[in-house]
Symmetry: C2
Subunit: 474 residues, 2 copies
């Protein structure tokens, strides 16, 4: 078993491995090439009886585990949305792990609670959110959106749903666009409201929620005896980064007295740029808001910032006080276990503090603008190539496109062609892209958002795409 002296030695060795890895990561196959079961079969079925050396463990890590890693920190990673790290964030994570503090309440690490409070303020200011907003760092947007829906549920039942349950209550309805994230549906199910009561509002031709359709949905629901509870608007949908029109949606919510939650998990980071503040016109009618520094703000997963206008509503929904958690400081401090679902909490504010200070606002802006410019350049290449087709307007750093040679007109064939193209591209190991469907059409997504992505990586991806298209068949 490692002792203190061993630890120092191994940690130094590991740092060199880490630095080498990050230096070389762009040369590794981005998406792991292993077959199902390949890693599993190499791990023994049982834990060893006696301890093994770190040399052995690290050797197995490199030989067995590493080939099974999809390299999210590669600048050739263009898939999903990024889950970025950065050098500063990594140092913060090392410290968080070292302190090993369980930050459930103020007493169990006052610095964690108070730094979290400040970081929420820093972010609020950076993103241009209203002064009244306060909040907490959660693990994921899934959890934050669930938190929002539960708070809306409690408020709408005059704080009785936690106590008496949803049996024999009104039937609530939740609204989001057809393009909203699956976590909304999951949250609606968990909260006991029922997926059938999630209304998918129609979108316009840019895949944005149609506020008139929302109004009609709500009116119809009221007619049928349903109780509209909450609208989830999305800034930057997962499929195509559509930006729901917040101002118009907010007006509807205000008139109808409905909780408005905003899922800006990815695109929220762009609010650091003044030129994207238009996305939150109408924020005055928003009740809660989530954005993930762990996506595009260079901060290791997990770090999801949840903001809420009515702090009391949040606390009344989640506060619980068993004897063993009573403290003298209670009431004069933030006990963040009352701001969400889980009791246990990591010291997540630390890495965010490291990132925001080491990058500075200018540093973050510069990097974001660079990503967006690279995405724009990529989009223009798509537009200029007659064999390619843009599948949605380019917002921020996501480009949605497909390969569509003029001579192929059958939609099934085009879908097949693009499915094969994606498979071939990812099989090269030189890029990792993922897909979505746009109006039933198989669509490739390129997100230019990885922390250390440069023009050369986007250029190489483009060349690879052109080259691979030549070889792809239906």
């Amino acid at each position: 078993m490692l002792n203190h002296k061993d630890f120092r030695k191994h940690a130094h060795e590991l740092v060199d491995w880490m630095a080498d890895y990050l230096q070389d990561v762009e040369n590794l196959p981005v998406k792991s090439m292993v077959k199902p079961g390949e890693i599993y079969q190499q791990i023994p079925a049982k834990a060893p009886g006696t301890g093994e050396s770190m040399q052995q463990i690290m050797r197995d890590f490199q030989q067995i585990i590493l080939p099974g890693i999809t390299h999210w920190q590669s600048p050739n990673f263009f898939a999903y949305f990024p889950a970025n790290s950065s050098y500063a964030s990594l140092l913060g994570e090392m410290l968080t792990a070292t302190l090993g503090a369980q930050c459930m309440i103020w007493d169990t690490s006052p610095a964690a609670a108070e730094l979290e409070e400040r970081m929420i303020e820093w972010l609020r200011n950076l993103l241009g959110l209203p002064e009244q907003f306060t909040g907490a760092i959660q693990d994921t947007a899934s959890t934050a959106t669930l938190t929002a829906i539960l708070t809306a549920r409690e408020q709408a039942t005059h704080y009785s749903s936690n106590l008496t349950g949803l049996q024999n209550t009104k039937t609530f309805r939740i609204y989001c666009s057809e393009e909203a994230h699956s976590s909304v549906e999951k949250a609606v199910a968990i909260a006991g409201i029922g997926r059938e009561n999630m209304v998918k509002v129609a979108v316009d031709d840019a895949f944005r929620m149609n506020p008139e359709a929302l109004s009609v949905n709500i009116a119809k629901d009221r007619e049928h005896g349903f109780t509209p509870l909450c609208v989830v608007a999305t800034l930057g949908t997962t499929g195509v980064t559509a930006i729901d029109p917040l101002a118009a949606i907010g007006e509807v919510c205000k008139q109808q007295n409905i909780w408005l939650h905003v899922d800006a998990a990815f695109a929220g980071t762009a609010l650091v740029l003044p030129e994207f503040r238009w996305m939150i016109a109408g924020i005055e009618n928003v009740d809660s808001f989530v954005m993930n520094p762990h996506k595009w703000m260079f901060t290791n997963f997990d770090c999801s910032a949840y903001f809420v206008r009515d702090k009391e509503a949040l606390l009344r929904t989640f506060a619980i006080l068993p004897e063993y958690l009573k403290t003298e400081s209670r009431g004069s401090v933030n006990d963040y276990r009352d701001w969400g679902i889980q009791l246990g909490r990591r010291f997540r504010a630390l890495k965010l503090w490291f990132v925001l200070r080491n990058f500075g606002i200018d540093g973050i802006r510069e990097r974001l603008r660079n990503h967006i410019a690279l995405a724009d350049e990529f989009a223009r290449r798509i537009e200029q190539q007659p064999d390619f087709e843009m599948m949605a307007p380019r917002h921020l750093s996501l480009v949605c496109f497909r390969y569509h040679p003029e001579h192929i007109t059958n939609e099934d064939e085009i879908n097949k062609l693009n499915t094969n193209l994606l498979k071939k591209l990812n099989a090269t190991g030189r890029v990792y892209l993922t897909h979505t469907k746009v109006g039933g059409k198989y669509t490739l997504r390129v997100v230019v958002g990885q922390t250390y992505v440069k023009k050369q990586h986007v250029d190489a991806a483009w060349d690879l795409i052109l080259q691979t298209c030549l070889a792809v068949t239906v």
Copy 2:
């Protein structure tokens, strides 16, 4: 902003800081001494415009943040339950942060999914859980217990509650002992069942759930038209580490066809010791089970192992498949986003693998037995001192006691005395203890469970307690 070369340099410096910290941590005040607002006031209200150097940030970390940390990794930490780290775990966390992989599905890092599968098997085997159990690593027991209750809810409604909600359904009842953790109550509220439908079953004089009382509660509920849904049994309650009689509870659940979830968050680790396997007599009637390697198994928070007998029930409750998450491997691999609430997932299996291999089964057993022996010795001291009183039977590594000089007979005075004693003890900075109430009586808790705690630390704590008692008044 840090570049690659800077990172290597700073990471090496940080490793020396980390090693020094862990070497010195026992000399730091265990519980932070800061006043509310003290840290907050030292952090500027806004993020800096331009980036700052790591030297500046690390200096502030040491000067501002460190005094606000409660040192969970100090061997003088006897509070709550431990949230242990270890050298091997820490190295694992460094790697997880470096890879920065988002392990939501198999494709996004096959090694993470397959190592997680193996780690669940290793733990199952280590703890003596049934072969049919499978599961996933979750963040916290709060989440795991919520997962269990949601799965029970879905199964009991023939998989309709997710779809149609709980409006107009039967009124479900959840049972746990009076001593169960607050996360059960929180989960019942979140799931839309209502706290009023959580029945707190009476306990015996060792604070264990009374299975006869459970039977009576269930029968009475059925008479009144309620639908018994789930029993949450606790192995190792937070207050006094009471062990609910699983065999008898399991019989009731079997006869009544009720989901049985076991919260063994802390005490589950003791199942690695054959002499504690009696705790899971009756496991054949258990449907789900949670234990936290991040408590007493030397693995950094967060790492909570959730086991379930009927994998299909779990997947039918949580599976969701939007287009952008469809993969070719789907169906032949474990996509762990379908095994719980959140979509996003850290690579948590890695640190657990590091710990289990570096310690080995023998190493874990040795350390646990040592902790338990130290707690036993401490308990015997309490018993032998006429001015002290044991407040609950000593189980595992928790000792519940109070100071009770013969001449004080008024219960309020004794409570006050012990409140003051705890405050004085923690104010020395040399130990950190927390409290609970046992039958309304203010009770001090000493948990001997921190990874690197030795006899000398427990001896010093005992001496300090004796010394502090002399000075404490009502």
